[in-house]
Symmetry: C2
Subunit: 312 residues, 2 copies
């Protein structure tokens, strides 16, 4: 019997690992739980950047250069907005907006994000289960030195993650509810993975959904994070910069410490010497995923390694 694997992810890095897992795990045994703290409203559209990245990656239509957006997409709509005098700072690809339109219309009709995501993913031929962390709106707010508290996408895209972070806040998290689908997936999981995503910006929002962290921690199964930090730097995005600003050393140790009892295993990059990590299970693999083969290889290594230290 195949193992039920659940992987928690944010955007590009997590999507790559999810892609690798999807190539080696039967779809009915793989669930991807996705951060929705990045979601925002833009020109009346509800945009879910991490869900989109995962969908496009697993659907095989992602822009492989950027790691997000639809490959070969055009920006004729965006250019037209600019002709109307709009200061458009978030890339709205023409094909991408089809996703936003369908999702927004369905949300306005009262359909839960989980159901919408399932429908869109199915239409893209995606077979593993994709789940938003919650159906309720949660917004990651970034308190910066330069601009005060701003929405995540304003920090991340508009200001290209250059502002200095003082603190983070998850608006709406108190009333966010874990969905039955997320609860079921975590309860049925044989392995829980945390993708090489930003622990603070991508994974913390998922873990902060009331009840979710406790449910994960309560499971006596392998719970393994893959490092987003290699050689003291983030593979992509602001993880290392953010860690320094929040007073941490940008190291695998600090990531392990941050996850605390959520994980009992950790994968660092084999080029690193992470030193002693206070976890029962630690391994070093090639974690930098450039090609599709890299993604599959990392997924295989992680799953085989986990199988080696647990008797399922």
């Amino acid at each position: 019997m195949a193992l039920n694997v659940v992987v928690l992810v944010g955007g590009v890095g997590g999507a790559k690992l999810a892609y690798g897992l999807a190539q080696i795990i039967p779809p009915e045994n793989l669930t991807v739980i996705v951060n929705t703290g990045d979601d925002f409203w833009y020109y009346g559209l509800r945009i879910c950047p991490d869900l989109d990245t995962i969908m496009y990656t697993l659907g095989g239509v992602v822009d492989t250069t950027n790691g997000w957006g639809v490959g070969g997409d055009t920006i004729n709509l965006l250019d037209a907005l600019r002709r109307y005098g709009e200061d458009v700072w978030f890339r709205l690809g023409d094909q991408d907006v089809a996703t936003h339109l369908l999702r927004t219309q369905a949300l306005r009709n009262g359909e839960p994000l989980t159901a919408i995501t399932a429908r869109l993913a199915q239409a893209l031929g995606i077979k593993p289960t994709l789940l938003p962390m919650t159906d309720d709106p949660v917004a990651t707010m970034v308190n910066t030195v330069e601009y005060g508290e701003i929405e995540f996408q304003t920090y991340f895209v508009r200001y290209r993650w250059q502002p200095t972070i003082q603190s983070l806040r998850l608006s709406g998290i108190e009333s966010a509810r874990m969905t039955p689908a997320v609860c079921h997936a975590l309860e049925q999981a044989d392995v829980i993975l945390i993708g090489p995503s930003n622990p603070w910006l991508s994974i913390d929002p998922i873990l902060a959904v009331p009840g979710l962290r406790d449910l994960i921690t309560s499971r006596s199964i392998p719970r393994v994070a893959v490092t987003p930090i290699v050689g003291g730097r983030a593979l992509k995005g602001p993880a290392a910069k953010l860690m320094v600003e929040l007073g941490y050393d940008p190291s695998p140790q600090a990531v392990v410490q941050h996850y605390g009892e959520v994980i009992n295993g950790f994968v660092y990059d084999k080029s690193d010497d992470p030193g002693p990590l206070s976890l029962p299970h630690v391994a070093g693999f090639e974690t930098i995923m450039k090609s599709d083969n890299d993604k599959i290889f990392l997924a295989q290594n992680v799953i085989e390694w986990i199988k080696s230290w647990v008797s399922f």
Copy 2:
């Protein structure tokens, strides 16, 4: 002093005359009042086809082959919707959707359609005044033999105006209010024109806004319609077909009779012999507008002719 000219229009034909007028009349003296009975919701977007056609035409970006839409526009968003399994029957051009997004977002924010239209038109460099017939939603409903009562765009685009019309109904017209801007323009007008648009589908909704027909009829000024029927046929669209279905002869006479006391002047196509028309002022001009010069020429002919029978 230049004459204040107000022209009532629907889509393509009216837009062409408005374009001609805009080339010969100072912008502060020209107001275009546009049918909004065709407006509808599609994928969560509020689409105003006639306003769009007028904006794109006066803004010089219209697709000159179709007479509507943005010239050179792509349909990558539409193709992406189809990949999601959607049966998209209304053409959503990528640049076009920028207009729909901005308008829809502003409407959801409570901005009146008149103000939104002014803003979008200004951004496109349009100097004459463009006014929707009302800020309130009105929907032209088409009662057909084949499908019962359907929305206008369903009749017009989805079914390519092939269903047989039994009757028409303007949903919401009772509570539609004439806007101060429309009222002011009609009160200040020295000339009121009705474009070569479909009298039943494009002009009747405008005239049906409570108070509007009476206000026009009360003005002792030239009130002149340009024929949409040439040689017993409509230049574009279902006007002639509709007239037959509703029991009229597709002739200039029937159009004149339909407008009744709203008009005191009529322009037929010079290729036609309309016979006796019970109006004080009637003239035949070349009304088929293929080139920009045709549009200007017709506008000039109509205005000069009106000036010849009135001392301003």
